[in-house]
Symmetry: C2
Subunit: 311 residues, 2 copies
């Protein structure tokens, strides 16, 4: 019977993001084949991966960095990287023509059910997956930097991406210890960079207007908002500060928040209800929020200790 046969990932591109995928797949026990168009790219990529694996071993996340690294093999052609693999991940630079060529070639060389994920953060997937064979298994699988340490991964649908492909991608990402989220349309910036973008934009405006120094602005996040947001999203955070759940908070403080904004985008009743429904599915009784607050407080204490030990 023995061990199950390890699966194989074919990675196209050995830059910063590609290296993150090497680590993630190899740590999960997959064999990894890498093709980088720059054939001199192996040495710097290996050095960087080795450095990251050493830290992970030191911190007790993996038993043997050497054993993990041994699963990563560089190959001289795209064909050798993707033939017969269980997953293809494209991490080339943001050029629609190059991406299209990778998708056309990789889709011709793999079984129809193999997901071909793109690490791209900008170009809509429709623009480079239209001519791929069995294009319904194509989607964006966008990690966040550094990919091996930030859990979230955005799964962004092309117009033709099938639900089956989304489910397969979710399963593989969970196997890799990732937290997949589904983005239904490839709007500019997807979700992560839009949320990051509004913060950066407001932050720059506040410094520009002389309201606060750059240093203190950053501290507002790292010693304030970020402490909570590292384990609760904005909606759950609102609920924690409410007396009656998310919608009660949104209704009570909505007008105040809207006055701070420079554009008026209505917070519709339907949208608030959708969010409230999710919260109540998680915590049916408002009283459950009180118990959840104790969890919040303990987590804040543990985070404070973890950060205090390193900063």
């Amino acid at each position: 019977m023995g061990e199950p046969t390890p699966k194989t990932a074919g990675l196209i591109g050995g830059g910063l993001i590609g290296r993150g995928w090497m680590i993630l797949f190899a740590v999960a026990g997959w064999n990894v084949r890498v093709f980088d168009a720059n054939l001199d790219g192996e040495a710097p990529a290996r050095a960087s991966v080795r450095g990251n694996l050493a830290i992970m071993q030191e911190e007790g996340l993996i038993a043997s960095a050497a054993e993990v690294e041994a699963r990563i093999r560089f190959v001289p052609t795209l064909e050798a990287a993707v033939e017969g693999v269980d997953w293809v991940q494209e991490s080339v630079f943001e050029d629609v023509e190059v991406k299209r060529q990778v998708y056309d070639a990789a889709s011709a060389l793999t079984e129809p059910e193999v997901v071909i994920g793109s690490s791209g953060g900008g170009i809509p997937p429709d623009d480079f997956t239209a001519t791929a064979s069995h294009r319904e298994r194509c989607l964006i699988v966008h990690p966040f930097n550094p990919p091996h340490l930030v859990p979230v991964v955005e799964l962004v649908r092309a117009t033709w991406t099938s639900d089956q492909a989304i489910e397969r991608a979710k399963a593989v990402m969970v196997e890799l210890g990732r937290k997949p989220v589904v983005v239904n349309r490839a709007i500019m910036g997807f979700v992560l960079n839009r949320l990051q973008g509004v913060v950066i934009d407001e932050a720059i405006a506040l410094v520009g207007d002389g309201i606060i120094s750059p240093e203190d602005l950053d501290a507002c996040m790292s010693h304030g908002l970020g402490r909570r947001w590292t384990f609760m999203g904005p909606f759950e955070t609102m609920e924690m500060n409410s007396v009656g759940g998310f919608k009660e908070y949104a209704t009570r403080y909505g007008p105040l928040y809207r006055q701070m904004m420079q554009v008026e985008r209505p917070w519709t009743e339907a949208t608030l209800d959708k969010i409230e429904a999710w919260r109540r599915a998680e915590y049916p009784e408002i009283d459950d929020i009180t118990a959840r607050r104790l969890w919040r407080d303990r987590t804040l204490i543990k985070l404070g200790k973890a950060i205090g030990a390193t900063s």
Copy 2:
């Protein structure tokens, strides 16, 4: 010689925020006198403070919850709370008239150099401190929820707040283990709630537009952006993802981020230079960023462990 005489804080208001201040001052070894207009407020306030102190003792943050709690005394009048104290903290509800009365009374009963801080998050301090005696020691000292566990505190200047008062407030907040930041003008929402507001607004819009589910939106923060923002602000995060520092990143990705925004507010060269100057004061050489990235990676590992142990 013996112990130094403990200092005394006079707290006005025993609600959620007032309780946070009771904990913070008492844990730091101060004697605490509390006046709450609701004279039946002592029992629920004590029960809540006791619950929080018990968790802190369990987690090893304090040696004896009972000893800390013994420093907190409820008194029947505002006068008894503030007479002869070293710090006054007002945490009453957001009513400009009530706040003005507290400021007028407390300022008449305390030495001119005693800071009178307001926990208020909304009303500009000019509106209720104008008639206080020695109004140059009046300012907003705005904690974030839960106050005893989130380190940041916004010090918001009134028009007449002196630099000396800001420096005294900073020193006391640092003594309490807080991270004070200075907000130079009381704009709506100050800084923390403005940053929170843009995220909430974008998050509600993304759910409303059907781009993402409420659950996945929250996960984008709690498993993505928040993991970094809990120990690095937005500016340092940008720098970490740059090849040449903050300004290189802002200049390279600025146009992309601006396309996501709905309003055009210019990112001026002068503002970018101000932020870049702070980053280079912290880390003069761009090569220093590489070393800082290793610190980032180790911190992310420790946070992941701390969160994994509780979620």
